[in-house]
Amino acid sequence: MKKIKYYASVAAALTRQSIQSRLEYPFMLIGHVLANCVQWVVGFATIKFVVDSFGSLGGWGYESLAFLYGMSVLSHGLAVVFFIQTWYMPYCVVEGEYDMFLLRPMGVLFQFLFEDFNLIGITDMIPGLMVFFYGCAKVHLEVNAANIALILFTLAGGTLIRGAVWIFCGSLSFWTKSTANFTDMVGALFERVSMYPLTIYPKWTQALFTFLLPLAWITFYPVKDILEMEGSVIPVPMAVIGLGVGAVMFALSCGLFRIGMRRYESAGS
């Protein structure tokens, strides 16, 4: 318990400092918020267009798609808020930026993730929230404790899965020592699998994203559950399984990071 309080207090201080740092450069903030709004509106417009043209997507109607899209954007926003630092992992390896964290008596990954807390990521979520509430309204989602819990579990699980994949890709830089990384490619993958129903893909792709690279658990299965589409074989809610998948993936990625840290060679004099 004491340890959690300790980590929480340091996280709070780091977060406050990151926000202070960002506020030193206000025009960047404004520009970013504007760009994000445009991005998500266009994204949603695309879906609307597709549905209007083809009637349904993977068997999903317009309302369900809106809800799915909203959930996807929300979990994307959360992942960006907590884990966007991972995009700089290769840079840190090559430039020796981990030294500072290693010299302090705390976990390196923890310090690294909170080093530059991404306040802007929250703005990513504003259009997402709008679409989400729109989607909720369209599917006439009952506002009860169960649904709220399921939604929270889904978001938590989805964020952990995304974060885990990013940490995994970033940790590879301990071996490749290059400044390039797969994170944008992976980001595109996240979008394709979480914004649209899995059923639009061939069976083998569906299996791939269900079992091998469990991205379908970010939104698809939990949302299917929430919208009560076709009976689930397992008595446990999909959102809970999704959270479990996320936790396991996250633990594995952290493990990879730790192994990679042993190979760290620092840089400079």
Partner: protein, 327 residues
């Protein structure tokens, strides 16, 4: 009591020889000319609590690599390190809690915010009690005078101020051991003076053990009783500066200006040159003192002026680096 123990420490790097041109780059994908380079090659030493040790060597000798292994940043290829009985490889966090490390060419201060913010953050990370924190801050301010710029964003500080900030930051949690890697690099005389003063005082006041990596031989002369020289990954000298000087340059030179030209010899000194009224004598430190030599010679002829020349420390260290040191 040994607070630092290093035994048979090795750090090996894999160096892939890269070939030129596009053909070379493609060839490197399939066939690689791999060489193993030892940045640190089987070194061992001990440091007693409260010592100030200078760790010097030419560029690329392995100094920073050693310090990084001692502080848990790098994993050794082989060998053992014990800091206050704990291995930084096995229990990094515990070791680091008692360590203060400053790399002269890198800063741990938050670039965008005021200096004080980093201090606050460190207070939390090291879980420093309020009372101790205030006392340390006051003590460090006496030495570094950072209250003048504690509210300035770090990016606006001069190098000297930033260095003082980094040194203070490293000491906030009262570590018993300090690793200072080039702390005076690029500093003006005033800043160098305050850094050296800090090292002396913190060592005297708190008995802090200090390992100082430096190219500034002034630092070495002023601060360190003990000197470890590393070159090409191996330790070539480990002892006091005085003993090194005695071995490499045991002779001193005495320049005497007489009132009238005189050729005066002395059994314990070599008369190197005589030019009109100026005579230069070479003598060994352990055979006769300068004072005695002057006294003896003055009995024979009145002396107008004296000058004593010591071997330059730069030359001594360069000789040491080359490895041509008589035992």
């Amino acid at each position: 009591m040994n607070i630092i123990e290093v035994s048979h420490l090795v750090k090996e790097y894999k160096k892939i020889k890269k070939e030129r041109g596009l053909y070379g780059a493609v060839k490197n994908l399939f066939v690689q000319d791999v060489q193993y380079v030892r940045a640190v090659d089987d070194i061992s030493f001990e440091v007693e609590k409260g010592d100030i040790v200078a760790y010097i060597g030419p560029n690329g000798a392995g100094k920073s690599t050693t310090v990084k292994m001692l502080s848990g940043i790098l994993q050794p290829t082989a060998g053992e390190i014990l800091i206050d009985g704990i291995s930084p490889q096995k229990d990094r966090r515990r070791v680091v809690r008692n360590l203060g490390v400053v790399f002269g060419q890198r800063s741990q201060l938050n670039w965008n915010l005021r200096l004080g913010e980093t201090f606050d953050l460190l207070k939390r990370i090291y879980q420093i009690e309020d009372g101790l924190y205030d006392r340390n801050l006051r003590m460090l301010d006496e030495i570094f005078r950072f209250s003048e710029f504690i509210d300035t964003p770090v990016r606006q500080l001069s190098l000297g101020q930033r260095m003082r900030g980094d040194l203070a930051a490293a000491m906030l949690h009262s570590p018993q051991i300090l690793f200072l890697d080039e702390p005076t690099i690029g500093l003006d005389v005033e800043a160098k003076y305050s850094v050296r003063k800090f090292i002396r005082e913190i060592n005297q006041r708190s008995g802090t053990t200090i390992i100082l990596t430096t190219h500034d031989l002034g630092d070495v002369q002023e601060l360190c009783r003990r000197l470890i020289i590393i070159n090409e990954g191996k330790i070539i000298e480990d002892g006091s500066l005085d003993s090194l000087v005695d071995r490499i340059a045991p002779y001193r030179q005495l320049v005497i200006d007489f009132y009238h030209p005189a050729v005066i010899r002395h059994p314990k000194a070599e008369l190197v040159s005589v030019e009109e009224a100026r005579a230069v004598y070479k003598f060994k430190k352990d055979e006769i003192t300068a004072a005695r030599l002057i006294e003896d010679i003055s009995h024979t002829a009145p002396i107008k002026e004296v000058g004593l020349k010591e071997a330059r420390i730069d030359d001594i260290i360069r000789t040491a680096y080359s490895g041509n040191v008589p035992q």
